[in-house]
Amino acid sequence: MNGALDVALRLLVVFVVFLTFPLIVGQTEHKVMAHMQGRLGPMYAGGFHGWAQLIADGVKFAQKEDVVPTGADRRIFQLAPAVALLPYLLVLLAIPIGPGEGAVGQVLDAGVFFVLAVMGVGVLGSLMAGWASANKFSLLGGLRTAAQLLAYELPMLLAAASVAMAAGTVSLPGILDAFHWWWLPWQIVGAFVFFVAGLAELQRPPFDMPVADSEIIFGAYTEYTGLRFALFLLAEYAGIIVLCGLTTVLFLGGWHGPWGADGLGWLWTLLKTAILAFVVIWLRVTYPRLREDQLQKLSWTLLVPLSLAQIALTGIVKVVIQ
């Protein structure tokens, strides 16, 4: 009974995090983007700096009619948002936010492989949406999504493999247990590759070619309305949380901090994740969109060689210090 209660409690906590954190990132994006562009952003809803704007948005989405185009493949079209969103919920289960058994949804032996594998499944949602919409812009968006994923999954995997080599384990809590502060300069190239490749996998600007609104309307999500469209947006923000959390755990030492790491480890994790999420938003406002050939070139000629060099460096240092 106690075991079942424990599991239920963990699932509940992860679910609440899954529902609230993406919204917080969304609201932060509203405000940060607005201030960086010299405007105010939403200011009225809720009174204080428009904090209730997201609730208003949610109500708006829920009120809209759920339209499925006549020519679309109905079942696939309706299934796609769930396929896009659910993997991120599963990934959150495996991310440790503090030391010990109590601070992770589920300890997995092959945690790194689990998170990368399941994140890759999420992209299937975009592909299904792009194909099933019976719309040429959607299909183009789906194609670009697939091309981007094929290009960026390899450097992401290699960068994660470098950390796993350094720690001698593929379990996420295990990697954190093995972490020392000097891993930060040691793995910095890997961290860069992982973060950039993750951004590309999430299709966040400057890698938002698949949803380039000035060319193909909104890519794979063009035909979606109402709640299903909101689910895709939620998947994007959940993806930001997952990517920032993973970068924190793999490269930035997770719950380790310069001081106070004993009781407040989870605070360090959240702080680092929040800073990275801010960087994601910052990049969106700063850089123009990369063209498709630039996207491919960046991955194959820069990120893949960099990640291979990082693996070589990791191997050499690992042999030297043993």
């Binding site: 992209v123 299909l139 194609l143 994923l149 094929l150």
Partner: protein, 202 residues
Amino acid sequence: MSLAAAAPHGFLSPNGVEIAFLLVGLVTFGAALVTVTTRQLVHAALWLVVTLGGLAVEYLLLTAEFIAWVQVLIYVGSVVVLLLFGLMLTRAPIGRSPDADSGNRWAALAVALAAAAALVWVVVDAFRTTWIDLHGPAAGSTEVTGASLFQNWVLPFEALSVLLLAALVGAIVLSRKAKAETTGTPTVPDARRGRAEKEGAR
């Protein structure tokens, strides 16, 4: 199948894991059948996702966690995406394709049955006396898998690497040749190369 039913108490009193294994196996088998019989091309690819995912669940139930996640990573995350990419790039109609059939289907069925029979026979024969304790420490953890791969199976592993390297070089040569003959779309060689390199990384 004999692996799952290999608990010490025999075949006639299955426990929960064994029942789950059997049910997931049935779902996987059904999805595989739909994959090869459906007339809708993209649906076939999506049913393939269910099939490969079902296999991953079977690995999980047999405590081979590492293999299960690698299965999802490589097959669902990369191979199926590549498949969908290829379909969308060439022809992916919504609805049935009446011509999505082959006159070779009976020959294909015969080959599939022969291959399945050979595999089942070899596996049953080879692992007749190998029991997996589903409730003890995981027999297929990353550490165990890695140790056995790089201690007992290094030679096949390296031979496979060379094979994949050859495939990689071959893909690059083919794509260069196609480029020299016709100025084809630049994305196709990219995708091919992506597949080959991913296989190489495996």
